[in-house]
């Protein structure tokens, strides 16, 4: 099917400026068969529009020039011509049918997510992505890593300004990867132009999409559906690598996950929890509660000098683990592991003048989650 109208691609790409340069003006050709099909459709319909435009505007501007009143031109008085009207109705219909056939074929292959080699669960959260390699025990969140100083113009902006993350989604090339997409809060939309995958993530529902990447590389995109205040700061980065490289990476991540799981049972020192907690806080919590815990009331309460938080450890843990229903605070029981929750609770109870001295152990958190 893809081959059957390869000619469209060839013709249209001959017209377009060299594809490497076209990137900044035009839709990317992309690195999947689907993205190339879509590019072909895009260019085909574009040239159809150009041709119709040249004809229609040609007649129009010719008339405007030729039949000027100022030239003493007398108006004709015809106002109907059924066969012309039938012609200009029939031709567009034929063109549209001609476009609908390849579009239908592409759409069908986009919808065929069967027989995937790997399943990845993508979860949108305000304002980060969580990736879970199903059946592999590997999961992590991916946050924008562009610094606030760059956004504020206090530092020079780097090449991938706003399009860089702490941990990209790693995928193998040449394998069919199925995405199962959902959201924990509002609707987001996961989009990577080079992969031609854009799919809404909807709370409470799972959407499917799939990708089979032909070339290794790093592909960048953004959340495409308005999802709240940091919608513009929710990039997607996909790192596509050779299959062996991917297997090695996956094995390494599995091992790290096992290490982390063992960390739950041991007794942690306060400094270690504070250090870990600061990292977690700055990547996960600071987008709402701000980097110094000052919050942004009324939507996002302050944590620094928050009397309820300081006086009630139980309440505090409950908020982090179970979230607040009907508000922006999500439940972190499944997105963060017990070590991370313990660390971040310990950190917020001892930072910015919240000097409670409380140390929360991962084991305690694990117990709470199990209840």
């Amino acid at each position: 099917m893809h081959l059957s109208w390869q000619w469209l691609l060839t013709i249209t790409s001959a017209f377009s400026i060299t594809q490497a340069h076209a990137n900044s003006w035009n839709m990317p050709v992309g690195v999947t068969d689907i993205s190339q099909d879509i590019f072909g459709l895009h260019m085909a319909i574009f040239w159809v529009c150009v041709v119709i435009g040249v004809i229609v505007f040609g007649v129009m501007f010719y008339s405007l020039f030729k039949y000027r009143h100022s030239k003493g031109e007398k108006a004709a008085n015809f106002h109907e011509h059924t066969s012309v009207e039938i012609l200009w109705t029939a031709i567009p219909i034929l063109i549209l049918v001609g476009m609908a056939v390849p579009a239908t074929a592409t759409l069908k292959s986009m919808y065929d997510s069967s027989e995937a080699d790997l399943d990845v669960m993508i979860t949108g959260q305000q304002w980060r992505w969580r990736y879970e390699y199903l059946g592999e025990d590997v999961a992590f969140t991916s946050n924008m890593s562009t610094s606030r100083a760059q956004i504020r113009g206090e530092e020079a902006r780097d090449e991938h300004y706003l399009l860089d993350v702490d941990e990209p989604l790693v995928l193998p090339i040449n394998r069919k990867v199925r995405f199962l997409m959902t959201s924990d809060d509002v609707i987001h939309s996961w989009w990577v132009p080079e992969l031609a995958v854009k799919q809404d993530t909807i709370p409470g529902f799972i959407n499917e999409n799939w990708v089979k990447i032909n070339e290794p590389g790093i592909y960048r995109g953004q959340c495409a559906e308005l999802c709240g205040v940091n919608h513009g700061f929710m990039p997607v980065v996909v790192h596509a690598m050779e299959e062996e490289e991917f297997e090695a990476w996956l094995a390494e991540r599995k091992e790290a996950a096992e290490q982390e799981a063992m960390g739950v049972d041991r007794e942690w020192e306060m400094e270690d929890l504070m250090a870990r907690g600061e990292t977690v806080y700055q990547t996960i919590c600071s987008s709402c509660h701000q980097s110094e815990g000052q919050g942004a009331p009324p939507a996002f309460p302050a944590l620094a000098n928050n009397n309820q938080l300081i006086s009630d450890l139980d309440w505090h843990m409950n908020r982090v683990i179970n979230g607040v229903s009907g508000a922006a605070m999500p439940a972190f029981r499944s997105t963060l592991n017990p070590v991370e929750i313990a660390a971040v609770v310990t950190y917020t109870r001892n930072a910015w003048g919240n000097e409670t001295g409380d140390v929360v152990q991962p084991a305690t958190v694990a117990e709470r989650i199990a209840q």
């Binding site: 039949y67 959407n207 508000a327």
Partner: protein, 547 residues
């Protein structure tokens, strides 16, 4: 044809027929000063009120857009915070759609429909007054939410749940109330327009003799009555979800966030046609006038308008190609969307053929109407591209879409409104608008509108999502151009105000038939049109109408 009558107040208390216009009930002296405007039941005065309100809101919404464009002038956050940015994009959309474009068309309808069909006034004059005065109430309430704790609506003019319910600011309930009031105003206005058109045509004027502006408004009014209740329903469901613990749009309670989008776009897509069909009517009046040649395919135009109106109910989910609809649904909506391009294309072909072998002059209304044809068609082309569902997976929610709908709404709907204002100003004020200034306004607007919106196509194709307060560096050039264009366009509109104000105060005198090629009934009453016209119904002379 129509007798010139001294201004006198007549009370119309029957909506049944044109004959109602005969009965004169002299009563207490007409209120003076502000009360005259608050209590007026005259279609011309109410029309003016609508137009002034709309122009004011056009500038309010325009300032919001300029705040957005100023922030987007360069990468980085310079002027405003993302939270306020979201409120600005949302308010810009809501104000422009519900407070600028729609009331402008209602204003033109109020002024011109009775004049074009030879009726003394609207069928329901007091209702007319009520539906206007609901608008300032609704939009004062809506704008006041910006000052409330937590800020105003920040979820986009499409207000997708659950961002607009569970995660919305506290002011959302006021936003819902404001939209309800505006919706009631629209429905009442539509009822009035239908009643007027069906009952109050001059003796001898059949439906088929009506000018296209009247026809398109008749069909638009039916669309309004069909879909505004759907909007009212969906915002009421939001209200329940927010305040009364229901879960229409909350999956945790068994609801469905996608249901919101189906309901919203079942309203929203016909709404798009509500904003463009009257524009078709205005352009179809202006082009034959200045080409001095009857409209090519008047009959086809009427039928195509009806077809577009019906099809507009069948295409709503093309706004939702990436929400995960089943394949069959995607195909259905792709096909139906492609098909609606056909009757729309027919209209463009008809206008172009009307120009062919005409005798064309380029007065300001004609300039705007011609720009409408070209630029609306460009918006139509990008619409055709968006209809291709697989490609829409790339276009959706990018600046390509922003470029598309601004092309159909700014040089589309708004240019048509301006064309209409320039066309009918001589009738309203008795003077021609200042030709030179109007041309200057036109050329500045043309440059501004294209500089603003054309680069957005490229930004979108290159991958810039819409509704973001800051963007990656590769989009910087396009955004800088758009921002410069936006400020230029915004400033150019001050010229429009100047032309209108000057035209009200004086200028070159206009005769009753202000334009050489103008045909319709409104040109048979003196310029300026006296407060009361057609109190004795004119005899409609069919011979030079479309036959």
């Amino acid at each position: 044809m129509a007798p010139k009558l001294p201004p006198q107040h007549s009370l119309q208390h029957s909506s049944t027929a044109a004959a109602g216009g005969h009965s004169h009930h002299d009563h207490a002296a007409q209120p003076k000063g502000i009360l005259r405007w608050v209590l007026t039941t005259n279609h011309k005065e109410i029309g003016s009120l609508y137009l002034i309100f709309s122009l004011t809101m056009f500038f309010v919404g325009g300032i919001f857009a300029l705040v957005v464009r100023a922030e987007l002038f360069q990468p980085g956050l310079q002027l405003i915070e993302p939270e306020f940015f979201n409120q600005m994009t949302t308010m810009h959309g809501l104000i422009m759609v519900f407070a600028a474009v729609m009331p402008a068309f209602t204003g033109l309808a109020n002024w011109m429909i009775p004049l074009q069909i030879g009726a003394p006034d609207m069928a329901l004059p007091r209702l007319n007054n009520f539906s206007f005065w609901l608008l300032p109430v609704a939009f004062t309430l809506l704008l006041s939410t910006l000052l409330m704790p937590g800020g105003g609506p920040n979820f986009g003019w499409t207000f997708y749940a659950p961002l607009s319910t569970t995660y919305a600011p506290a002011s959302t309930t006021f936003f819902i109330l404001a939209l309800h009031i505006a919706g009631i105003s629209s429905i009442l206005g539509a009822i009035n327009i239908i009643a007027t058109i069906l009952n109050m045509r001059a003796p001898g004027m059949r439906m088929m003799d009506m000018p296209l502006f009247v026809w398109t408004w008749l069909i638009t009014a039916f669309l309004l009555i069909a879909v505004m209740p759907v909007l009212a329903g969906v915002i009421t469901m939001m209200l329940m979800d927010i305040n009364f613990g229901t879960s229409f749009f909350d999956a945790a309670g068994g609801g469905d966030p996608v249901l919101f989008q189906h309901l919203f776009w079942f309203f929203g897509h016909p709404e798009v046609y509500i904003m463009i069909l009257p524009a078709f009517g205005i352009v179809s009046a202006i082009i034959p006038t200045f080409a001095r040649k009857p409209l090519f395919g008047y009959a086809s135009m009427v039928y195509a308008t009806a077809a577009i109106a019906l099809l507009s109910f069948l295409v709503w989910a093309h706004h939702m190609f990436i929400v995960g609809l089943p394949l069959t649904a995607e195909l259905f909506f792709m096909y139906s969307t492609m098909l609606i391009a056909v009757p729309t294309g027919v209209k463009v072909f008809n206008w172009v053929t009307t120009l062919f072998r005409g005798s064309i002059s380029f007065e300001p209304p004609m300039l705007f109407a011609l720009a409408f044809v070209v630029l609306f068609t460009i918006g139509g082309f990008s619409g055709l591209m968006l209809a291709i569902a697989p490609a829409d997976f790339q276009y959706h929610d990018t600046y390509f879409v922003v470029a598309h709908f601004h092309y159909v709404l700014v040089p589309g709907a708004i240019f048509a409104i301006m064309a209409g204002v320039y066309y009918w100003l001589p009738k309203w004020t008795g003077y021609y608008p200042n030709e030179r200034l109007a041309q200057c306004h036109f050329w500045c607007s043309i440059v501004g509108v294209n500089l603003t919106f054309f680069p957005m196509h490229f930004a979108g194709l290159a991958g810039m999502p819409r509704r973001i307060p800051d963007y990656a560096l590769q989009f910087a050039d396009f955004n800088m151009l758009s921002s410069i264009g936006a400020f230029f366009f915004g400033a150019s509109q001050l010229m429009f105000v100047l032309v209108v104000v000057m035209c009200v105060r004086g200028g070159k005198k206009a005769p009753a038939k202000a334009w050489e090629g103008a045909e319709d009934l409104e040109w048979s009453v003196p310029s300026p049109a006296p407060l009361h016209t057609f109190e004795t119904p004119p005899v409609f002379n069919r011979t030079h109408h479309h036959d």
